[in-house]
Assembly symmetry: C2
Homo-oligomer: 710 residues x 2
């Protein structure tokens, strides 16, 4: 029996240093091995990755170490749901959930810190994270953000303490991302001063609601507010739904269990419907719209459209927190797969006496290291997003413009990072082969739990389309009054002008006449200003091209305009993705600029280059078609990526050590050092066998000898 106890990343690293041979073979044209090898300052980078909430993160990571919060695989649906509820109760008792709430209710009014702590929970159990998110980040947060003081006093304490588990009843079976079109009604009855909540047909059932299948005794219900014959649009109501003592639905309320899901089975998702359920007038969460006893509607926001978006905007925190959570999950997946890859040996390559460590295979590096670089970029861009979020939600910089910028940035980054997590966890699982498929090694469970992150809190494609519309709006503002000739010139990509918004794009310091040359040389492509120009130019040129197409039908009937928009939809979503990638690049670049330690700067610079050249490679056909990178140099992008892989190989374990995971966060036997120990045992066995003189001769060797004699 070998020791399978988890080891620290430090000892795993030491193991690897001892057993791994240096990079073999000269890299084409590289002079990597002649200079003294740079060294990453792991502690420094670890601090960088903790971002703006270092203490909160460290504290939350301590919580996440506690075995009672860890996911247990193989439980039944009921067992997993009950376990998750119990975990939440413990958290509530310990006050883990208090950060976001008002000081007068025992909270800290620390919006950003709350999300940082929430994000770190992903290593413990995503079900716990999301069920907690439903309770405190959606149900209680709706009371906090959409209600007023009277609601805070009346409903928040029990929501915070989990005395009242709640559901957030927004989505309907018939309407997911299009919340404005939900069909549940809340009709005001001045006779009794009550709202009548009603589900008119099956498609209007509330659906996919966490806590709704079993535990919720109340819900924040979104419905069309109707009073005096006028529909004032979607508002939110506090509605008790179950008898806390019996767990039975209250009169007029019914529901169904969504049953088994692809993951997150600790969260009891379900459906709710309402048959003329009456709640007091005061249960309208009335921060953005109110109804007086006689049924008169009033709102501080005159435009129904702006009012709707303001109400929904309070929910941006879900998107922000998913960006952070999935980045940590990607890091964890890479930690597991890269640790294993640095110990696992398979097939003989250069050295006939020893199998090669699989991370020394170029393909294996190709599969994992670019994803590591992307994950690094996301750590930095997430911190930018989280800081913006805190600026707005702390009230420090709560302007309409900042809110819109925050929403746009969240809508761009959340899709990229959630998709990246699924892609990375899958590649990590495949890179660990059959071991990766065992639940004990966590990759499959994490991926299954995170699957829904790409479509909840805003479907990724819908979010990117929102970003695209913002890009088009900003573009239109900028060129208001411009001549058709100017527009055509811009659309043809001849000018790189001012960036769209100060939040993200910066002024590009050169025009495309300069750009046309840089693609000739890899050296030029390494320059950060050039990189910025290439990435920015791509967004601008794509948006300009789409705008030019839409401009052609701007006086046509609505149906024709819609059809024209539809022909540009895919391109628009790609442009939004490009904008999101640019934001990630800006954040990574800014973070790199703060590093003064030479070794760290060099190694982290290679990671930055790998991320950036990865973007160039991914979009290479665009750069070639648009003449930004020449064909002759296009192939050099790939060759340079291969060089970066060789350079980064020896620093891989330092780079994953900087994620700061403890064995209690990792909990995967294959990343525990067990693989290295097994190989040690095998090596010792063969050495002893050879020494004993009892080792069998290989038939192949005999045949070869016979042939030589023959």
């Amino acid at each position: 029996m070998v020791d399978t106890a988890p080891r620290t990343s430090e000892s795993a690293r030491a193991d690897e240093r001892a057993s791994s041979s240096p990079t073999k073979g000269a890299a084409p044209g590289a002079s990597v091995d002649t200079a003294p090898a740079p060294k990453l300052d792991v502690a420094l980078v670890e601090r960088m990755l903790r971002g703006s909430y270092p203490d909160v993160r460290l504290e939350a990571r301590e919580v996440a170490k506690d075995p009672q919060f860890h996911k247990v695989e193989g439980l039944t649906l009921d067992e997993q749901r009950e376990r998750t509820l119990e975990q939440m109760k413990v958290q509530a008792e310990r006050g883990f959930q208090l950060r976001a709430f008002p000081k007068r209710l025992g909270g800290y009014e620390d919006a950003g810190g709350n999300l940082a702590a929430f994000e770190e929970l992903v290593t413990a159990d995503p079900s716990l994270q999301i069920k907690g998110g439903v309770q405190w980040g959606l149900f209680a947060a709706a009371v906090l953000h959409l209600g007023t003081e009277k609601h805070h006093d009346k409903f928040l304490p029990d929501a915070i303490s989990l005395k009242v588990p709640g559901a957030f009843a927004m989505t309907e079976t018939g309407h997911g991302s299009d919340v404005a079109s939900i069909a549940t009604t809340a009709t005001y009855d001045p006779e009794t001063e009550e709202f009548v909540i009603h589900t008119p047909f099956r498609a209007a059932w509330k659906d996919y609601l966490g806590n709704a299948a079993k535990h919720a005794t109340a819900a924040t219900v979104f419905a069309q507010l109707i009073t005096k014959g006028v529909n004032h649009g979607v508002h939110c109501f506090y509605v008790p739904i179950r008898d806390a003592a019996t767990g039975e639905f209250l009169p007029g309320i019914g529901g169904e269990d969504d049953g088994h899901k692809g993951g997150l089975n600790g969260v009891d998702n379900g459906r709710l419907h309402f048959d003329h359920v009456r709640v007091p007038r005061e249960n309208l969460l009335n921060r953005y719209g109110d109804v007086s006893p006689d049924g008169t509607y009033s709102s501080p926001i005159d435009s129904p459209g702006r009012r709707f978006f303001t109400m929904l905007g309070t929910l941006v925190q879900g998107r922000v927190s998913l960006d952070g959570s999935t980045t940590i999950a990607s890091a964890l997946g890479l930690y597991i797969a890269l640790t294993y890859a640095s110990q696992r040996r398979q097939f003989v390559a250069g050295n006939p006496d020893e199998e090669q460590v699989i991370l020394d295979y170029q393909r294996h590096q190709r599969r994992l290291l670019p994803r590591l670089a992307q994950t690094y970029a996301q750590y930095f861009s997430h911190d930018v997003l989280l800081s913006k979020f805190d600026d707005v939600f702390s009230g420090r910089a709560d302007t309409d413009e900042n809110r819109q910028d925050l929403e746009t940035l969240a809508a761009a980054l959340k899709p990229l990072s959630t998709w990246h997590a699924l892609d990375t966890l899958q590649e990590a699982r495949e890179a660990c082969g059959g071991s990766g498929f065992l639940a004990e090694n966590r990759l499959v469970g994490l991926r299954a739990d995170l699957d829904i992150y790409v479509t909840f809190e805003g479907d990724n494609n819908v979010l990117l389309q929102l970003v695209g519309k913002r890009l088009l709006t900003d573009y239109a503002k900028r060129f208001k009054g411009a001549s058709a000739a100017d527009l055509a010139k811009f659309a043809a990509g001849q000018v790189v002008g001012k960036a769209y918004n100060e939040g993200g794009l910066r002024r590009v310091g050169q025009n495309l006449a300069d750009l046309a040359g840089v693609g000739h040389s890899i050296e030029a492509l390494k320059d950060h200003e050039t990189q910025r120009a290439l990435l920015t130019d791509r967004v601008e040129t794509m948006v300009a091209g789409i705008a030019a197409e839409l401009n052609k039908v701007r006086r046509a009937p609505a149906a024709e305009q819609a059809a024209a928009f539809n022909t540009q939809q895919n391109e628009l979503i790609e442009a939004s993705r490009a904008w999101g990638e640019l934001q990630q690049w800006e954040a990574f670049t800014a973070a790199l600029d703060t590093v003064t330690d030479a070794g760290t700067r060099e190694v982290l610079g290679w990671v930055h280059s790998l991320f950036t050249f990865g973007l160039f490679e991914k979009h290479l056909s665009w750069y070639l078609i648009h003449g930004r990178i020449t064909g002759r140099r296009g192939a050099a992008v790939t060759a340079y990526i291969n060089r970066l892989l060789e350079r980064l190989r020896p620093h891989t374990l330092d780079l994953i050590a900087a994620f700061g995971f403890a064995p209690e966060h990792v909990r995967a036997p294959i990343a525990s050092g067990a693989e290295g120990a097994r190989q040690e045992e095998a090596r010792a066995y063969y050495a002893e066998l050879r020494a004993s003189g009892q080792a069998p001769v290989e038939e192949k060797a005999l045949k070869k000898k016979a042939k030589q004699r023959g």
Copy 2:
């Protein structure tokens, strides 16, 4: 309550025809709507997709309809394992498993038909499929293919009847894809005329073996055969492992349960180890290597290397069957997502009075229709593969060359189709939003079960590398004796010559001087000979480039050669993928050529174009860099894909109807017509409300009116 009973695809299609509006807006430059619309002959295409085993497939689909074979979600590990075993027993009683076995033992000696039937089971329950695959396709098949008549008589009847459930003990914890390096030993003892099976250390435990955790009472164990002090390499032994009555391990044998996995939890994977376990000499499955009573080794195959590959080659059927199974699973995922997409409405687009069917959104088409085209290609290429398999395994054309071609083709197609299934099932699940995440809609369960298909029966990356080595070998043969100048010329891509092997690549009818021009025009790119030339040229140029790099170090020490090979590994795997894509293209093209019905030819031709232009778009940067497609025309590739999407949109339901799924295969409530029924109900509700005069006025409309009044 609405009717949620499954409907036939026919009725779903009729629904959609009635409710879907015609394509809005003119396609750029298209004249699609002026000609009479072509019509796919669904029955004809359905017959085409059934391929060479139409009757077997229809029969197996009837079996797959039986609810007792359907996966039940949410069972515990033990429940699911027992259910799967019970399902297999029913199958065994009914003789479902007999097709591959000798006639004298009750079988049909129908190797190809056996796989066709196996593949169709994927719609019932992948666990049943794979646990059956372990029993009959691996354990019993090892006895059949590696044993001789005495083994067939002694072991096969009980293996076939499931009286002896068996494990296939090849993989070890320390060695997955590198079977030649396994460490379990089988040392011959002439005193007792027994083999001693032994596990020398922990890394040599057999691992991830289906049936090993609980049910297997015997195993076919792969071990290094040692006799008279010589190791003759990996051979296979029949080893009883458990007492059938008690379920306890026999003396000297131990094991562990692999526990919960990411999917396929009906299969009880586990580990086995052997402590000097003795089996009679006759238990060596001795078709390719035998040991006489005195310990003398003999083999019909002199070369240990060739002997090893011949033994492993008998296992190719696993790869072949996964190619077919995952293609059917992809089709099922697309059937579900496209049916839903053709009924689901979300957001108002062109028509302000009705939300748009989501399949009318360009992005939604982009997400699903190219994957549909890929799936179509795979149906045809799989049938080519399956026919080749039957040619070899029926003995009709069992030559070394055919076996090698079969193995190469299987090694190329299995990675492409298994990855495609995961990608497609994921996109399908996302395209169904929250509904897609519910287990009842099957997409998440199918994806979880199929996840392991990409790394078992040969890790996809390892398989593609095998293909790459074959491509390099063929290339070397072809240019044996060629001058360095010839090689350089070829590597530079100036000549397209004869194809690598007659099995796959055909002679390309033009040289690159012609090719250089075609990229200027989309029309030219539509020509099949041009498409073949472009796809073939890409493979050849990539292989030539790699060969040229390797050629530089061909006299260098082994370590340097290995390092040089490593720098080409990623490119080689990409070249293999390109070769696999070419095989898929050839099969699709050949199938299309058989169609005489004009409407079918046109619609299926668009599917073929979508597949082909999808390849051009995916590899566009390569075609641009290498001057095969000009920059000016590069963008037109994407524009043409968008046109194809518009053309195919009205034929989508016909194309998925041709997969031939019955409601009993689909079993997903969202693809049952329930979505359409819910919308009907909602529409009727609103119509009645409007007619009643009780409908509330929209605040927005009031405000607009007030403004107009000024």
